[in-house]
Amino acid sequence: MIRAAVRFIDQRSGTAPFIKKTLRYIFPDHWSFLLGEVALYCFMLLVATGVYLTFFFDDSVSQTTYHGPYKPLDGATMSHAYQSVLHISFSTKAGLLMRQTHHWAANVFVAAIALHLLRVFFTGAFRKPRDLTYLIGIGMLTLALLEGYLGYSLADDLLSGMGLAIGYSVAMSIPFVGANFATLIWGGPFPGSSSFWPRMFIAHVLIFPILIALLLTIHLVLVASRHHTQFKASKRETERQVVGVPAFPGQAPRSLGLMFAVFGVLFLLGGLVQINPIWLWGPYHVGDATNGAQPDWYLGWLIGALRLVPSWDFTVGSYTVVPNPFWGGVLFPTIVFGIVALWPFLERRVTGDVAFHNLLDRPRDNPWRTALGMALLTWVFLTFMAGSADRVDVLFGIPYSRQIWIYRVIVWVGPLVVGAIAKRVCEELLRGEQAHAVRRAAIAEARLIER
């Protein structure tokens, strides 16, 4: 039967040699190489659950009065979009499971990409010939952030409305063209024309997923055509020779197992752990807002940046060159993404290292890279933490304004300190290894002499 199937395919496509090669494709083995795979499986589940949700979602913001099973909102004026999400949550069998799984998968998706990026950065996997692969990955992370934002904006609950107001203000704050750009996207001043919701919807369910899928395909093709990187675990791993487990039968059940595990955990989360209870926030109206509003985790660094910036618009006469949300909402992420995206090229220029690299660095092997990477990470992380200062105020009673002043200092000092410590740790680890190697060589020599 196997023979018949293979012959059928080969006679019609001529791909038997390719299939054979694919089956024996070698995967170097290290747990951290699986982070990208987790992101891939999240994406697959996002598409599957997302398609299911589109069958019930209504992208209209025309207003209606709610009369449904959720009594606290009975009689409330809301958009059809919000009503349809309530309907998915309360009146569609398995609807809430799919919606919550979709939301959880989105959160894990971005987390997996971020961790994958950290792994690739700190091991130097981005070096030639994989710098292009890396840039495409950064592109996907950017798309994933926007896609997630669009997703939770579509529900048209109070949180999504507040998020959109902030997004609109950030768009408005772009120097010279902000107002034109924002009114173009929104179809008029906030909250925008009635066609804004269909625009967001089609971007969320068609344009962005297709872009991500396209980049994902190129990413994987490039990975496969240059083969995986590997750590130097023994003398067998070299720049010229890759060592690992073949795709079939060794790697396939591991990867499939990981995929099913990702699906399983996300469905368990979707069923058992409540996420984004949109019915608690209520419908959005321009004049409404709530305290303690927090976005999904992956936008926490941006809300932190928006909150940390002191009151300052840059004006020349009565011309407002830079309105305030630009600093935290545009400039900050542009700098962070700019450094991360340009890093392979900056590093190449500074070190003059233009060689091919198939062997990975351990973080300690490149103290400067690790130090600067840790500094950047600390900068982003502290800003992220600043975004939760209001919750800390509520939970622990530390006044919000005092925390903000502390953060305004430590977001600049922290990266320097952490970077310096990281560099020192790397250097000490290397020195320790060298000392160890010298001692071992001496012992070996001593034994030789004894003989």
């Binding site: 069998k93 799984t101 609109y168 203000s169 950030v170 408005m172 120097p175 063209v177 107002a179 034109n180 009114t183 173009l184 996207i185 008029g188 001043p189 909250p191 240059r226 083969h227 010229r240 020779q241 060592v243 487990v245 039968p249 060794g250 059940p253 591991r254 197992g257 990981l258 099913f260 399983g264 955990v265 996300l266 469905f267 368990l268 069923g271 058992l272 321009v286 004049g287 807002a289 709530t290 305290n291 303690g292 509003a293 809300i303 928006l306 909150r307 002191p310 009151s311 300052w312 618009d313 004006t315 011309y319 407002t320 060159v321 309105p323 305030n324 949300p325 091919f356 209001d390 919000y400």
Partner: protein, 328 residues
């Protein structure tokens, strides 16, 4: 005859040889051999049974009407089924297929010969052109123009060049303030240390210029020259934060612990804090300009009305925000 004999012998040898080769029992293995593991197989069968059971449970739970905590049961069944399947895969990976460690050379780093040929093909294909730079320039100009033309219809998405509407608000002199239920505000009923939301009577409430926050302060605390805008100390500001467009939904007053020195309007998105007694000036947080204030008056019935439009453009800032005034 000898020739025929030779042929026969040769044919016989070939036949025998071929048959032998066909009968050769084992091909050389590609995948390394490993010993069977019945115990792992038993575990695998058990896991597959579990997957089937959990999947069936999902269908059963789905089919039930009026089951309390249905979402939780569905998630448990489906997630459990996938997790068991994952476990099955891991058992296969660890105990039932061989984990060979293979080594092979990395792919060729580059193919300089092919690179040269590609370059040559492109170069030679253009050998009939005499004014290459001019043609390239004209060609890119043409494509650029066409690309631009293809992009222009995107301008239909929204008013690109008309930013006038950003200055307009539904407020004008004499417009009555009403609450969420549409009831007018009677000045005598507006109390201190309380926070009210007001809308223009009969106006569209979903406009960014519509919602107001109304608070009452001791008249003598209100700074000149805005004291005349605040009959009985009642002040009204745009409810939309000048930082990022959220509604200002918090009123910090000594009524609540922890007590703070003076009342302030606070936006819950990024905690921009405005002073209602002093023209809505920013006293903390990121907002770059004061909260636009709406001058009030009290009519003969004692109800609150707008005495004009806002002191400045409403909502988040943009490049033109300081060049124009709020208008009706």
């Amino acid at each position: 005859m000898t020739k025929l004999k030779d042929w026969l012998v040769a044919g016989g040898v070939l036949l025998v040889g071929r048959r032998r080769r066909e009968r050769r029992p084992e091909r050389q293995r590609i995948v390394a051999a490993g010993a069977p593991n019945r115990r792992a197989e038993n575990v695998l069968l058990l896991l597959f049974f579990g997957v089937t059971l959990a999947a069936a449970a999902f269908i059963a739970v789905y089919a039930l009407d009026r089951l309390s905590n249905q979402t939780q049961w569905l998630g448990l069944a489906l997630g459990g089924s996938f997790c068991l399947l994952a476990a099955a895969c891991f058992v296969i990976a660890k105990h039932l297929v061989v984990s060979e460690e293979l080594a092979e050379p990395y792919p060729e780093r580059e193919s300089p010969a092919a690179q040269g040929e590609v370059e040559q093909i492109v170069h030679e294909s253009g050998s009939r052109f005499t004014r290459k730079r001019l043609v390239t320039l004209a060609g890119s100009g043409a494509l650029g123009a066409l690309g631009l033309a293809a992009l222009v219809p995107a301008a239909s998405l929204g008013p690109v060049l008309d930013t006038d509407s950003l200055y307009t608000t539904p407020w004008r002199k004499g417009r009555r303030l009403v609450d969420e239920a549409g009831k007018p505000f009677v000045a005598g009923d507006v109390r201190e240390q309380t926070f009210y939301t007001a809308y223009p009577e009969g106006g569209d409430r979903e406009l960014i210029g519509a919602p107001l926050v109304v608070v009452r302060l001791p008249l003598e605390e209100i700074t000149e020259p805005r004291r005349s805008w605040a009959p009985h100390g009642i002040v009204a500001y745009s409810k939309i934060c000048t930082h990022a467009g959220c509604a200002i939904a918090l009123y910090r007053t000594p009524t609540f612990a922890p007590t703070q020195p003076r009342p302030a309007l606070v936006c819950p998105c990024h905690y921009s804090t405005f002073d209602p007694a002093d023209a809505g000036k920013v006293i903390f947080g990121p907002a770059g300009r004061a909260l636009p204030q709406l001058p009030l008056l009290v009519d003969r019935e004692g109800e609150l009305r707008a005495a004009g439009n806002f002191s400045g453009p409403v909502g988040p800032s943009w490049w033109g925000v300081r060049m124009g005034k709020a208008r009706s």
